[in-house]
Symmetry: C2
Subunit: 429 residues, 2 copies
Amino acid sequence: MPHYTDTTKRFLLAAKYAEIAALEQLAANCRLVISMTSLIHQLQRERGASNVYLASQGQRFSNQLQAQHAQSIQAEDTLKSQLNAMYLNDAEQAGNMRLLGSIAVALQGMDNVSFLRDQIKATKISALASTQAYCRLINSLLAVIFEAADVAGDPVITRRLVALFNFIQGKEFAGQERAWGAIGFAETHFNTSLCERLEHLQQQQQHHVDIFLEFCDEHARSLWQATQQSDATQQQAKLRAMIKQLADGSPIDGQLSEIWYDVASSRIDGMQNVEEWLTNELITLTAERLQQAIKSLKNHKKLLQTLTEQASAADRPLTVLFDPTVPGLQGSEGHRETTSPNNGLSAHRSFYDLLCEQSEHIRQMSSELDAARQAINEQKTIDRAKLLLMQQWQLTESQAYRRLQKHAMEQNLRIADIAGRVVNSTPAR
Amino acid sequence: MPHYTDTTKRFLLAAKYAEIAALEQLAANCRLVISMTSLIHQLQRERGASNVYLASQGQRFSNQLQAQHAQSIQAEDTLKSQLNAMYLNDAEQAGNMRLLGSIAVALQGMDNVSFLRDQIKATKISALASTQAYCRLINSLLAVIFEAADVAGDPVITRRLVALFNFIQGKEFAGQERAWGAIGFAETHFNTSLCERLEHLQQQQQHHVDIFLEFCDEHARSLWQATQQSDATQQQAKLRAMIKQLADGSPIDGQLSEIWYDVASSRIDGMQNVEEWLTNELITLTAERLQQAIKSLKNHKKLLQTLTEQASAADRPLTVLFDPTVPGLQGSEGHRETTSPNNGLSAHRSFYDLLCEQSEHIRQMSSELDAARQAINEQKTIDRAKLLLMQQWQLTESQAYRRLQKHAMEQNLRIADIAGRVVNSTPAR
C-alpha cells in the first residue's frame, strides 16, 4: 500500500513546476537586465559627449553626438521590443508589481529623452542641467536592475545580479566623478566643496566595487584587477592626487580638462569588459539553473514510477508522523529513537525520501537566498536611513550619507548597522 | 503632446494588475491557512482524546475519540477539496515553491494518519509515541501557515498572518504543556527534568503570544486578555505553581491528572475565540485590500483618459529627467531647483504625477512589508541558529534554545540578535 495519495504526489510535483516557472520568469528578467545594462552604457557615453558639445558651445563633438544618439536609440529599441514581448503579451499577465512599477518610471524617462536631446542640440540647456537629467534617467534604469535583483528567487542568480547592480552603480559613480572633475578643470580651479564631492564619489565607487567583488566569480575578479592595473587607472590616480592639492582654489590649466576627461573615459570604457562578462555569465547561469530544475523534475517523475514503499523498522509507514529525526513534542528528545528511517533506503527510495529531499533542497535554497539578499537589504536600509535623516534634519543626500559614515567610524561599526539603528529608532508611519 | 508612450502607460497599469493578481493569490492562501487552522485545532483535540484513551488502556473516551475522528476527517476533507480547487486546476500553474513543498509534506502526513488511528484504537502504541506523531503532524501543518506568512506580499495581511501563526504556535505549546503535565501527574511524581520542560514550554508560549500581541489588532488583544482572566487560566496558574514545588520528586495524587487535563483543556478551548476572530478578520481584510486595489486601478484608468499634459515652469516635460526632487548627480544638491513640479498639479494631474504616486505607494508597501517580515526573519534566524548549535555541539533542540537564551540574558540582548550572531559567524556551505 503506498503511503501517499494522488493529491500529495501532485503537490510534490507542483513545487517543482513552481520552481521551474520562477526560473523561467527570472531568465526573462535577466534578459531585461542585460538590455538595461547596455542602454545605461550608451546613455553614459551620450551624457559625456553631450557635455563636451555643450561646453564647446556646440563647436565640438557634433558628429560624435549624432552617432551616439543612433547607438542609444538602437539600445532603447532593443529594450522596448523585449519589454513588449516579455510582459505585455497577455494583457493582464501577473508580473511583479515593484519590477513593473520601476519599469514604467524608467520608460517614461526614456519617452522624454528626445526633448532633452533637442535642448542639447540647440544648446538651450547648461552642461550641469543636462548631466543632471542623464543622471536621473540612468538612476531610474539602475532602479529596475535593483528591483530585478530584489525579486529574484534563486540564490545563485541573486548573487550575480547583486554583483552586476553594484558594478554598474560603481561605474555610474565613476561617470559622475568624471563630470565633476571636468567641471573643476574647465573652471580652471577647484574648491573644498568640489574636492569633497569628488572624494565622496570615489568612496562610493569603492563601496559598490567591494560588494561586487564579494558576489562575483573568480574570472570577474581577475578582469577587475586588470582594469585596476591599466594605464588609465594609474593616470587617473595621479590626476586625483593632483586635484586633492587644489582644494585651496589654486588656478590650474583649463587644458587639463580634456586630459582628465579622456583618462576617466578610458578607465570607464575598460570597465565594459567586466560588465560584458557579468551579463554573459548571467545568461549561462540562468540557462544552467533552469536545466537543473527540469532535470530534477524528470528524475522525480521517473522515481515516482519505480518507488518501492517500505515500512520502517517498526512496521510503521514512512511519514513525518513516525520520523524520529523530525522534531515533535518539545522536550522529548531523550525519547527519540536513534535509528533514522532513511538508513539504507538509498537503494529502495520511498516517497517520503523524495519529500524529505525536496524539503531539504527548498530549505537550502531559501537559506542561501537569504544570505545573498543581505546585501540588497542593507542597501535598502542605507537608502531608507538617508531619507529619514534628510527629512528629519533637512540634509542633502550626501550630508545624510556622511553623517551615517561618521557615526559608523566613531562607533567602529558598518554603515549598514548604523543605518539599521536609524531606521529602527524611527517609529513607522 | 503627451509625455509618454502607450508602452509606458501599459506598464503603469501592469504594475496595478500585478498587485491585484498577488492579492488574489494571497486571498486564496489565506483561505487555505484558515482550513489548516481548523484542522490543527481538531488534531489537537484528537491528540488529547487519544491520550486519555491510551492512558486508560482503551477503557475511557472510546466514543469521544470516534466522534473526534469524524470531526477531524471533516476538517481534512474541507482542506483537501480546497487544495484541489486552488492549486491543481491548471496542471502546471505556477504557485510558490516553498508553500507547495510544505503542503506536500503536511499532506503526506495526513495520508498516514489513519494508520496512527488504527494503532491507537488497538492500543498498539504508547501515549508518548502517539503524542509525538500528532505533534509532528501539527508541526508540518504549522509550517504551511508559516510559509504562507513568509510568501505574502501585502504588509497588512502579513502582519495578521504573523499574529495568527504565533498564536497557533503558542496554543500548540499549551497543548504540549498539557501533555507533559498529564504524564507527570499520571506517574504520581515529577522531577527536575520534567519541571524544566514544562517551564520551557511556558516560556515559549509567552514568546509567541508576545509576538501575536505585537501584530494583532485591538479586539484580538482584548479577547486574549479575557482568556487570561478566565477561571481556567487562574486554576492552571495554581497547578503550575504546585508542579514547581514537586521538582524534588515528592509523590502526588494521580487523580490530579484529570483535573490538570480538564483545566488545561478548558484554557486551550478558550483560546479558540481568539483564533476564530483572527481567521475571520483575515477574510475581511483580504477582501478589503483586494477592493482597494481594484478601485485604485479603476481610478488610474479613468485618470489616464482625462489627463491634461502640462509642461513644468521651465517648459520642460514632466518626467523624471527634470524633476528636481529626484536625486541625480551626486553632490549637486546645492544646484537643485527649489520649486517642485508637482506644485499646483492636483487639479491638472499629469501622467508623471500618477507615476510618482504609484512609485510612492509601492515604496510605502515594501517598507511596511519589510517591517512586518522582521518577525518572520527573526523566527527563521532562531531556527537556523538552533540547528547549527545542535549540529555543532550535538545538542537537543531545547538545549540549543536554552543556550541561545542564556547568552541573550548574559549579554542583555534579544534571542534573535544572539541567533543572528551564531548564523553570521558560521560560514555558509
